[in-house]
């Protein structure tokens, strides 16, 4: 009896082991299938589906050990690269780091200087697309909530502050271009909600300043800078701000809504063909760039928060702010609190 029992117990155990291995193998098979889907499908919806499923898939199994495998961030990057590739955009190229087997993107013509990859946000889910020197989170991507949002602060810090000395404006536009294209593809093909921030070229886009009060001497300084240039700084007809006349009918306004008691200042770029963004203006015109950076304390534009239903509770507030940091180098705790308040207001208004 007892030996019989022992045998049956042992058989059970072997069986349960084989079950476990089978489960592990099954996971492995699913993993392989998803990887194939991610690298082979031509359908954007299937691409997204594969990435999301890979995000939810755990390869941890006590009995079946898989060799090194890619991280979640790598799948995000593959998703981006494949979306671009399928739509004929080849300026972003992926290479694998031989030691960590991490996937990194290089973007022409910055391929010798910078690497980009996604960095997972452990609190809100989703990931930041960041360059790898200073880890500037250029945009935030969340597949579950289907949103993509650029960070104005990171765009200015990375491109305008650090790169304008090294690259021409055309080169830098070429680098940011696949990022914009990716965002637009997500919007068009997968119905994502996107926010291009200061990359938006539509004439209706307004970028509100982080600080509520703008001393007019800041605008005076721009006025003085235009002496002996081909550009003129005009007063708006309703005395609600200034307009800088740049080339080819490009106009940069810094103004507030004259009918709004709050007098919230915002930047706006107007051009006939709606092809120029505030970012482009900062890149292209040293006059505006120098003035903006010299007075960034006052001129920083804010990145409005995307507040998700699931992190309305206090614990997440700090994390939400990763995307709401003001577009300026330093910030105090006070400003952050104020910032958050503003953003809640913004949400209400919108």
């Amino acid at each position: 009896m007892s030996s019989n029992q022992m045998i049956s117990t042992a058989a059970d155990r072997v069986h349960s082991l084989s079950d476990s291995i089978a489960q592990g193998l099954e996971v492995g098979q699913r993993y392989v299938a998803l990887l194939n889907q991610l690298t082979e499908t031509k359908d954007p919806a299937e691409l997204l589906d594969a990435t999301e499923k890979l995000e939810g898939l755990s390869l941890a199994n006590a009995f079946v050990k898989f060799p090194q495998h890619y991280q979640l961030a790598d799948y995000y990057l593959l998703l981006m690269a494949r979306m671009l590739e399928l739509n004929g955009e080849n300026s972003l190229e992926i290479e694998e780091n031989e030691i960590h087997h991490q996937l990194l993107a290089k973007i022409s013509p910055m391929e010798d200087q910078e690497r980009f990859t996604f960095e997972i946000d452990p609190h809100n889910g989703g990931a930041f697309f960041a360059e790898q020197h200073h880890h500037e989170p250029l945009f935030y991507l969340n597949l579950k909530h289907q949103i993509l949002k650029f960070s104005n602060r990171a765009l200015v810090d990375f491109f305008i502050v650090r790169q304008t000395q090294k690259f021409s404006d055309l080169d830098l536009q070429a680098v940011v271009s696949p990022m914009i294209k990716f965002a637009l593809l997500l919007e068009k093909q997968l119905n994502f909600v996107i926010d291009l921030g200061i990359l938006e070229t539509g004439n209706g886009a307004r970028f509100r300043l982080q600080k509520p009060d703008l001393p007019l001497t800041i605008i005076d300084r721009l006025f003085v800078k235009t002496t002996d240039t081909d550009y003129m700084l005009l007063n708006l007809p309703q005395n609600n701000g200034a307009e800088l006349r740049l080339d080819q009918n490009v106009r940069l306004q810094l103004a507030f809504d004259p009918d709004d008691y709050a007098q919230e200042w915002s930047f706006r770029v107007l051009d006939k063909e709606e092809r120029v963004s505030f970012f482009d203006v900062l890149l292209h015109y040293p006059l505006v760039r120098e003035w903006y950076l010299d007075n960034r304390e006052f001129l920083a534009v804010r990145t409005d928060a995307m507040i998700f239903a699931n992190n309305a509770d206090q614990d997440y507030v700090g994390e939400t702010l990763t995307m709401t940091t003001p577009d300026q180098p330093t910030q105090s705790a006070e400003q952050t609190a104020e910032n958050l308040e503003n953003q809640t207001e913004v949400e209400k208004e919108d």
Binding site: T217, D220, F223, T227, L234
Partner: protein, 294 residues
């Protein structure tokens, strides 16, 4: 006889009165018709026949009849308002950089430009078709044009002077530590020299002591100044910004005049000829013909 004379006199006078009244009525009727047809040229002729004859018809010595002209003196503001519409439209093309504000009926302030900061530049005298520029502002512009021939700006000398003053003040702030060390060393020397003073102090020692005391006092003055230097620098920077702004405004004004007229002299010439240029643009010749017919 006396009564006949009186009668004759009364007759002459009543004739004279009738003649005067007829002239007045004719004048007012002509004005009424001109206003009705918005014949601005005719209105201008009626308002100042002497000038009109000289500048538009080139007939000299046509006197103004004061008796009829002052009939509309109390309508000056309304007439100015009435005539401003066409005049300002014309000026909008001829002087695209001037902007007008009617601050009370028939009275127009001139603003130079629509730029971020601009100057009030005087008034537009509609009835006389001329700019009554604010002389102080006008002289600044004239001076700016002159200075630009030497590649200088209106306020560049003052800006330079204040900037070098700020450099000096900044150095005072930066040299605080150095000054303190120097002062400590001098005080040590003074103590030394003082120990050798007394009733039989040598002249040389006394002089040396005096020099040290003076040096210390100079350092103290500098220290005193350095304490308020930061505030002074800030205030100076504000002044420099204002002066730079004025330079910018003047440079925009110069650019506008050059774009439209080529030179400042041509701008001044155009101002002098404005009456004729404007009325000719309204078809002054046609009005001139009708004036001859009278």
């Amino acid at each position: 006889m006396a009564s006949v004379e009186q009668t004759n006199g009364a007759l002459d006078i009543s004739q004279a009165i009738n003649k005067q009244i007829a002239a007045k009525i004719k004048y007012l009727q002509e004005l009424e018709t001109a206003v009705e047809h918005h014949d601005d040229c005719k209105v201008y002729q009626l308002l100042d026949n002497q000038r009109y004859a000289a500048e538009i018809e080139h007939r000299e010595q046509q006197p103004n009849e004061q008796g009829v002209m002052n009939l509309v003196d109390d309508l000056a503001d309304q007439l100015s308002n009435f005539l401003s519409a066409n005049l300002i439209q014309y000026l909008g093309k001829a002087y695209p950089f001037f902007y007008y504000e009617e601050y009370k009926t028939g009275h127009y302030r001139i603003y130079f430009g629509n730029w971020w900061d601009r100057r009030r530049f005087g008034e537009l005298d509609v009835l006389n078709i001329r700019f009554a520029f604010d002389q102080e502002e006008y002289q600044k512009l004239a001076r700016a044009f002159e200075l630009s021939k030497q590649n200088k700006r209106y306020n560049s000398d003052r800006i330079e002077q204040i900037s070098s003053e700020n450099d000096r003040l900044q150095k005072l702030i930066d040299s605080r530590l150095e000054r303190e060390q120097k002062r400590a060393a001098l005080q040590e020397q003074l103590k030394d020299a003082s120990s050798r003073s007394g009733l039989f102090e040598s002249n040389k020692n006394r002089e040396a002591r005096q020099v040290i005391v003076e040096q210390i006092s100079k350092l103290e003055d500098e220290e005193q100044e350095s304490r308020t230097a930061a505030d002074t620098i800030k205030e100076n920077e504000r002044v420099v910004l204002d002066l730079s702004k004025e330079n910018t405004i003047l440079s925009y004004e110069q650019k506008s005049i050059i774009d439209t007229f080529g030179t400042f002299e041509d701008f001044e010439l155009a101002n002098r000829n404005l009456y004729a240029s404007y009325l000719n643009s309204l078809g002054g010749k046609k009005a001139g013909v009708s004036a001859d017919e009278q």
